[in-house]
Symmetry: C2
Subunit: 338 residues, 2 copies
C-alpha cells in the first residue's frame, strides 16, 4: 500500500470511539458523532466522557458531527451503530462513500424484521464494497485502559483484512484475520441472546458447573446455526464465538447479562428495558434467532427458552425446567466437519 | 442388557465417591476406599466426610477397603485414582477383573515419565478391555448438592457407552456419549495446565477480556495438540474441552487455578505444593504436555510459558510479556477440518 488508508468510524458510542482511538495511532482517523458536543469532547479534550468516563483517547483522533466530512475522504468505513439504525445511517452516508472501499461492521445484531446480518445490509445499500466485521471479546473500557485483549477481523478477502489487521493491532490488542464473515457475524449476534441466558443462570444462583454447561450448550447451538448458515465451526470455538460469549458472561459490564439477571429476579422485560438507556441487542435478537433456526431447521432449545421468557411471558424457572427435561445424546449432533 | 451391570468405583476421593453415588441409584455399586474408615463412613453414614463434608450419598452405595470384594463381581470398572497412582492400582487389581468388562477412567492427567493417557495404561495392564473416560465440567460438591451439570462418557464403541450413559444420567446430571476417547482424555489432561494459566491471569488482576482471550487461545492450543494426536476438534469445543476448562477457570474450588493465583502472588512452586494436601494435576502435567507438543510439532506458547514458570523459575510477569510479543495471524492455524 502506498499510503496509510484514511479511516472513518461512524458512531461514537463506547466501542466505536475505542476502535477509532486504536486506529488513530496507525492511520489518519475521523470519528463521526451524531451529537456535536461528543465530537467536540473527543477532538478538544481527547475524551468521550458521555460513554467512556475519563479514559484518554489517542490525541491524533479527530471527531466531527458532519457526516460528509467524516466519510468523503475515507478509504475504510467502520460502522459502529446499533443494528436497528444501521441501514438508515448507511443510506444517509451512501452517496459520499468512495467507490470500492471496504466496510467493517462493529454491530453485533441482526436487522429487525428482515433478520439480515449487517454485511448483508451493506451489500444491499453499498453493493460492490467488500463487507466484513471486527468482533471478539472486546470490553471497550478495558481495552482503552490498556488491558490485554484480542479480536478477529473477518473479511471475504484476506488481502483486505491484512492492512486492517495492521492498523488495529497494538501491543496489548491483538487482531487475528479470518475470512469467515458469516460465522463471525452470526456468532456476534447470537452471543447476546446467550448472554441473557447466562445472566438468568447467574441470577438464579446456579453453580459454576451449571454456568459452564450452559455456555457449552450455547456454543453447540451457535455452531449448529452458524454452520447451517455457511459459517465454519472453528469460528465458534474461537474469539468471535466462545471468546466473546465468555467475556459477556463473566463481565458485570454486559447489558445483556444484566437483562438476564433482572429477569431471574422476577422483573418483566418491560420494566427492565424501561430502566435501561439502550435496549440490549440480545432482547431484540432472540425472536430473529428463533426464526432463523426454524428457517434452517436447526434445534436451538436454549435460544427458544430465552425467546419465550423475553417475548412470551415464560418464567425463568419454567425455562430452566424445560431445558432439564431434555434427553442428552451426543454433543454437536448435526454438525459435520469438513 | 439382561440385568443392570454391577459397578465398581476404585478410589474414594471427592469425584470417585460422587460418581459412585450417582451410579448407585441405577445399578448395584461398590466403592473401594484405601482407608477402612472412609469405607465405613460411606456404608454406615452415607457420607464421605473426609472429602465431601456433610453431603449425603445414595443410601444404597456400599463401600469397602477390600479390593477383591470391590472388583471381583464388577461388570464395569470405574478408575478414580490420580494419574501417578493409576498404573499401580490397576496392576494391584488386575487379576481379579472379569474378562472383557469396560474400564472408565475419571483421572485427568498423563502418566508421569511415560506421558501415556490413562486409557493407554489400561490397554497395557488390561489388554482387551474397552477403555474410555468420563469427563466434563464436574465439580463434585455441586453435583452432589443437586445443581445442574453434564458430562461426556467417551468409549471406543458407542454400544458400550450407551448403558454407561443410562447408569450415570440423573435429572440434574446429563451424560452425553462420544466415541472420541483420545480427544476427551487429552482435553482433560490439558485443561489443568491452562487452569494454572487462568489462575495466574486472575492473580495478576487482568481484565475480563484478557481472561476470555486466554481461555480462547488455550482452547486453540488444546485443539491443535488434540487433533495432532488423533482427537476431533469438536471435542475441544464441547463439555470435555471448553466446558471443563471454563468450570475450572471460574470456580474458586479448583486446585490448579489456586496454584496459578499463588504463583502470581510471588510464591514459588515448592512453597505452593508443600502447602497443598494433594499435588495439582496441572503441575505434574505441564512438562509432559510441552514434550508431547514437541513430539507432534505443535505450537503451544501458553503451555510453554506455564511450564517455564512452574519448572524453570520464569516469573509470571515474564511469561505474560512473552505471550504479548507474539504476532497474531489467523486463529486455529494448522487445524484442518475433516
Amino acid at each position: 500500500m502506498t499510503r496509510a488508508p484514511r479511516v472513518a468510524v461512524i458512531g461514537a458510542g463506547s466501542w466505536g470511539t475505542t476502535v477509532a482511538s486504536l486506529a488513530a495511532a496507525h492511520a489518519p482517523t475521523t470519528l463521526w458523532a451524531r451529537r456535536a458536543e461528543v465530537a467536540d469532547d473527543v477532538t478538544a479534550s481527547h475524551t468521550n466522557s458521555r460513554y467512556l468516563g475519563d479514559l484518554t483517547l489517542d490525541p491524533s483522533l479527530h471527531a466531527t458531527a458532519d457526516l460528509e466530512e467524516a466519510v468523503s475522504g475515507a478509504d475504510v468505513l467502520v460502522m459502529a451503530v446499533p443494528s436497528h439504525g444501521f441501514r438508515a445511517t448507511l443510506v444517509e452516508l451512501a452517496d459520499q462513500v468512495r467507490p470500492w472501499i471496504p466496510v467493517v461492521s462493529l454491530s453485533k445484531g441482526l436487522e429487525p424484521e428482515s433478520r439480515l446480518r449487517m454485511t448483508e445490509v451493506v451489500d444491499q445499500v453499498l453493493p460492490g464494497h467488500p463487507a466484513g466485521v471486527l468482533t471478539g471479546p472486546n470490553l471497550a473500557k478495558e481495552i482503552l485502559a490498556g488491558r490485554g485483549a484480542a479480536a478477529v477481523v473477518a473479511m471475504p478477502d484476506e488481502q483486505v483484512a491484512l492492512p486492517l489487521q495492521e492498523i488495529l493491532t497494538r501491543d496489548l490488542f491483538k487482531v487475528y484475520r479470518s475470512t469467515d464473515v458469516i460465522g463471525a457475524e452470526i456468532a456476534g449476534a447470537l452471543k447476546n441472546v446467550f448472554a441473557i441466558a447466562a445472566g438468568i443462570a447467574s441470577g438464579m444462583d446456579s453453580g459454576d458447573n451449571t454456568r459452564a454447561l450452559l455456555i457449552c450448550r450455547a456454543i453447540a447451538e451457535m455452531t449448529r446455526l452458524g454452520v447451517a448458515m455457511g459459517g465454519s465451526p472453528l469460528t465458534f470455538a474461537g474469539l468471535a464465538g466462545i471468546g466473546d460469549l465468555l467475556a459477556t458472561c463473566i463481565s458485570p459490564l454486559s447489558r445483556n447479562r444484566t437483562v438476564g439477571e433482572q429477569l431471574a429476579a422476577g422483573r418483566s422485560i418491560e420494566e427492565i428495558t424501561a430502566a435501561m438507556s439502550m435496549v440490549a441487542e440480545g432482547v431484540k435478537a432472540c425472536g430473529s434467532v428463533v426464526a432463523l433456526a426454524d428457517d434452517h431447521d436447526v434445534e436451538m432449545p436454549i435460544a427458544g427458552e430465552i425467546d419465550a421468557v423475553v417475548n412470551r411471558g415464560r418464567t425463568p424457572e419454567e425455562a430452566y425446567q424445560n431445558l432439564l427435561q431434555r434427553v442428552p445424546s451426543t454433543e454437536f449432533r448435526g454438525v459435520a466437519l469438513g
